[in-house]
């Protein structure tokens, strides 16, 4: 099946006074209709920026400096602001971490839903209002017919995030970009919201790009997952494979460092050091200074995504041409 969204070799740059910072570098992936793609990584890895680039809301002075973004085979990365605004909402819905930034405090949630439904679906006022109440019921807001006339501040955090979800879904987009949708919520509310998103995506056949730092959320929700590091994709593949048998040394380290809930371990696995700043990304593989498997080639040549089993990893370990045994002495020495 043709992918719904395709990102090809995306490059995002931030011009600063000290030169150009490359925030995203050669990011490629696709999302099939009805598929949930999880995007994980540490803060600054570029996961949120990937989402922002897709919905055309990169914060200035950030700009797409290369590559293409295609929705249903049509390029959307080079559209004008007003053209993109029509696509946002109608074809791509967005959910952000903080519901307060998405909802306008001066209008009732009903007005905001009706406005969106009328703009994108061309329904009349009464019909749109009926739909709005229907959406509030669908996202689990009790007494939706009354709450529809409430203002955002009259809802609790979890309920507000449900309203945001309703707002993102009410124009029935084909793709939802959800950036840390549960991070601001408490654990018990988080679970409710995840269950909701998952159910809606399944029932409506909506595709979703789920950006989060929480592997647990990804494991529960996503079909495939992309692990990002320093503005690049380190590994991408079926979620089960990546979580259970990560191939890239970074994904392996990341998975191992998650504290388990079901047992106590004496010493948690840790990745020493920190992700490089955008201004100081090392040559070759960006992970090479922290990588336990590093060898000579990693220091000079940047690996592309290489197929290995069910997943693809940007790591020279999986290239048959790599002379990976020779420099053993180097890493222990």
């Amino acid at each position: 099946m043709a992918p719904l969204l395709e990102v090809r070799d995306l490059r995002v740059e931030f011009p600063t006074r000290r030169g150009i910072l490359t925030a995203l570098d050669g990011v490629s992936f696709s999302i099939a209709p009805g598929e949930v793609l999880g995007v994980v990584g540490e803060s600054g890895a570029g996961k949120s920026m990937t989402g922002a680039a897709i919905i055309g809301l990169l914060e200035p002075p950030g700009r797409i400096a290369g590559g293409q973004i295609l929705l249903n085979g049509k390029r959307i990365d080079n559209l004008r602001y007003d053209q993109m605004r029509r696509i946002r909402g109608r074809e791509i819905g967005a959910i952000f971490q903080d519901p307060l930034t998405t909802l306008n405090p001066l209008y009732t949630v009903g007005e905001q839903l009706v406005e969106t439904i009328r703009t994108h679906l061309g329904l009349d006022g009464a019909e749109a209002r009926k739909r709005a109440i229907g959406w509030l019921e669908m996202v689990g807001i009790p007494a939706a017919a009354q709450r529809v006339d409430s203002y955002p501040h009259e809802f609790s955090g979890g309920m507000r995030q449900r309203v945001v979800i309703a707002l993102a879904l009410c124009a029935e987009p084909k793709l939802i970009v959800a950036d840390e949708p549960t991070t601001a919520l408490d654990v018990s509310i988080q679970a409710q919201v995840i269950a909701l998103l998952k159910g809606l995506a399944r029932d409506k056949g909506t595709s979703m790009m789920l950006v989060t730092h929480d592997m647990g959320v990804i494991a529960e929700t996503a079909d495939r997952v992309a692990v990002m590091y320093a503005g690049r994709i380190a590994e991408i593949g079926p979620v089960r494979e990546v979580v259970k048998h990560p191939k890239h040394p970074y994904s392996a380290g990341l998975m191992a460092s998650i504290p388990p809930l079901d047992r106590k371990v004496e010493h948690l696995a840790q990745i020493d050091g920190a992700m490089p700043r955008l201004s100081a990304i090392p040559r070759g593989c960006a992970f090479n200074p922290r990588c336990p498997e590093v060898f000579a080639r990693c220091l000079v040549e940047r690996p592309a995504l290489l197929a290995t089993g069910a997943t693809e990893a940007a790591c020279w370990l999986y290239d048959a041409a790599s002379e990976k045994h020779a420099p053993e002495a180097m890493r222990h020495g």
Partner: protein
């Protein structure tokens, strides 16, 4: 158990007046609004062990952390440090030196205008712990090394460091007065997961090496499991369960504890259908009568609505304490581990 616990908390409560300004209140005909952040909790921490408090935001766990180091005066109840009332202990520099705190936000916990060496040395200077500037410099270098930084980092300013490194600086500052007792308020919540592992490992190493006692505050059950000897679960300003760490995870008693564990997404991907707990945490300004969890609890009955349960041993032989009428009466019996907390809101 004859030894005095390093920290003892008895019926501790802290209320905040969150009323609107007087004139507005009178005009609107409102009464005072009192937020019961912490409402009568008791626990003790034996020397060299870690007690963790877990709960969702607004449950009062951070208020407890601030109460036990004297940042707030209690509205009711007692805090005893080494058997001495906190207020008296805090008036004595030698006692104050022995308690320190680590905070959540690595960006706000270091004064941005101070050099790292001055930040770390602040307690040393305050308690007059080194005779000379040279000795102080040596001590700062030693502390920075101890937390995995370079002595040369002392010359830098906080903004030159990543979140994880700043948290190491915070730890170095806390250790600089040679404390016995550390209050750690969500020390890894703002950090990325691989960095979180570094900090947790560091804290465990330091505890083993220096014999520290921790009060560890977190919302993350998985993290808490890795560091705790005992765990208290808080809900709306009260302790609903207090148990040895392993016991809490193998046999959670309180319906809220079970619901919390149920809610955590796991990596095992057993395909298990999680049934999240319904509803949301009520406001601590007007908490429900009786047991604060009763509006969300599948086991609630009339007694739960009327009578506040005490924190008592769940079974005569068990070490875990539970504040639940259903557990006390044995009404929770036969509940399978993978379970049944009712849901209303997410049913689609």
């Amino acid at each position: 158990m004859a030894e005095t616990p390093i920290l003892e908390v008895e019926d501790l409560a802290r209320y905040f007046d969150v009323s609107r300004p007087w004139l507005q209140r009178v005009l609107a005909g409102e009464g005072k609004r009192i937020l019961r952040a912490v409402d009568g909790i008791s626990f003790a921490i034996p020397r060299g062990t870690t007690l963790s408090l877990v709960g969702e935001s607004g449950c009062g766990k951070s208020t407890v952390a601030r109460l036990v180091v004297g940042l707030y005066p209690p509205s009711r109840g007692h805090v005893r440090f080494e058997g001495m009332e906190l207020e008296r202990a805090r008036a004595i520099a030698e006692q104050r030196r022995r308690m320190q705190m680590i905070f959540q936000d690595p960006y706000a916990s270091l004064n941005p205008r101070w050099r790292v060496k001055d930040i770390v040395a602040e307690p040393i200077r305050a308690f007059g712990m080194t005779p000379s500037a040279a000795a102080q410099q040596a001590k700062v270098a030693e502390l920075l090394t101890q937390v995995g930084l370079s002595p040369l980092d002392g010359e830098k300013f906080p903004h030159e460091f990543s979140g994880g490194q700043r948290q190491r600086i915070s730890i170095a500052r806390a250790l600089s007065s040679n404390p016995d007792f550390l209050v750690c308020d969500e020390p890894t919540s703002a950090l990325d997961v691989s960095v979180q592992a570094q900090i947790l490992n560091l804290m465990k190493d330091l505890q083993a090496r220096l014999g520290l006692t921790y009060l560890f505050i977190s919302h993350n059950l998985a993290v808490v499991r890795q560091v705790s000897d005992r765990i208290g679960v808080m809900y709306l300003g009260r302790l609903v369960e207090l148990a040895p760490a392993e016991t809490l995870f193998t046999t959670p008693r309180h319906p809220y504890t079970r619901a919390l564990m149920e809610a955590i997404p796991d990596l095992e991907m057993t395909g298990r259908q999680r049934i999240p707990v319904g509803g949301e945490v009520p406001s601590p300004i007007s908490p429900p009568s009786g047991c604060p969890f009763h509006p969300r609890c599948p086991l609630a009955n009339d007694r739960c609505k009327a009578e506040r349960p005490g924190l008592i041993p769940a079974r005569a032989t068990e070490q875990s304490l539970t504040a639940c009428h259903a557990v006390e009466e044995g009404r929770d019996g036969g509940l399978p581990a993978a379970q049944r907390i009712g849901t209303t809101a997410t049913a689609l």
